[in-house]
């Protein structure tokens, strides 16, 4: 699945990242850095409520392509700036992680 299709179908907000022509093969939900570092699949989208700058390092380590911040939370300025440098796409949604998962599934990610 291409990220641009997922974003369009699910109605997520794009916070940073210009090129959405990125292939997403899997997803992961988690709010503990250690858990995500240990378990998130490569080329995935990560659903979380964490917005601390450390999430970018976790994404880099695991090969996560995009982060979706759920529950209507917002990223810190520093996180947005660093995401641009690191080529990690930041998304946000008002939905809970669970509801966002359902939408991603309906959009064809499975």
């Amino acid at each position: 699945m291409f990220l641009k299709d997922l974003v369009a179908n699910c109605g997520f907000n794009v916070v940073s990242g210009e090129n959405l022509e990125v292939e997403i093969k899997d997803g992961y939900v988690g709010d503990l850095l250690s858990d995500v570092m240990g378990n998130a699949p490569d080329e995935s989208i990560w659903l979380t409520v964490q917005s601390h700058v450390n999430i970018l390092a976790v994404a880099s380590i695991t090969g996560i392509k995009a982060i979706l911040l759920c529950n209507g939370l917002s990223y810190e300025e520093e996180t947005i700036e660093r995401a641009k440098e690191n080529g990690i796409i930041l998304l946000s949604t008002e939905k809970s992680s669970f509801r966002a998962c359902v939408d991603l599934f309906k959009a064809g990610l499975r």
């Binding site: 503990l32 850095l33 570092m37 964490q50 601390h52 970018l56 390092a57 880099s60 810190e76 660093r82």
Partner: protein, 246 residues
Amino acid sequence: MNQVLGEFYADFHIHSCLSPCGEITMTPGAVAERLQELGIDWVAITDHNSAGNVRVFSEVLGKYGIVVIPGIEIHTLEDVHLLAFFKSVDIAEAYSDWLNNLIPNISVDPEKFGYQLYVNDKDEFIAFEEKWLGQPANLKLKEAIRSVIEFGGFYVYSHIERKMGVIYQLGFIPMLEENNRITVEISRKESLKTYQADKRLNLIHSSDAHALQHLKPVMKVKAEGRNFNEFIKCMSDRKRVKLLWE
């Protein structure tokens, strides 16, 4: 007989250039000069998951008349930051070595996530830490607290109401069974009312400085002298600590 108490300006949470988020300007000579300008004479160096720069800071700051409490900011599995303070540099380093074994061997690109630099007493960089210190150690919060106590140290929950703070991450403050009071660090003046009312808590405030311009007077403490025993007394007695806000 009444105790003779001196007054000291203290800041017990300062990062050096070893922390991934710490600027490379946070070297002992530069920090010492800034602290001296500000009149701060009792500090703790608390880098993320390591006490690797504590010894050199202790030596250099000592020459400026500033006393250093050796410390570490532990990053637990719950993504909670916990400040640990130790009686001597030797003990802090021993704890640091023990903790290092619990940090996964994961490195990140320093260009992107910050350099982790060891420094000498001339403010020269002598080595860099390859393991990413900004990740959680394989240590649960309760285990982290127990380990600090086993090393004869003192713990304080970091910036409880901010990201990576215990209230922010967990929503509550875990108390050990035998605890009747613990010490927590608050970041915002607005939090004072909320937590001052909780009789189980002693409150401290710090700069959590990652750059020289973040250093500022944050606490005035009353102590007989600047040593570890008096430090614990200050941290455990509301009457001895005055929090300063800009």
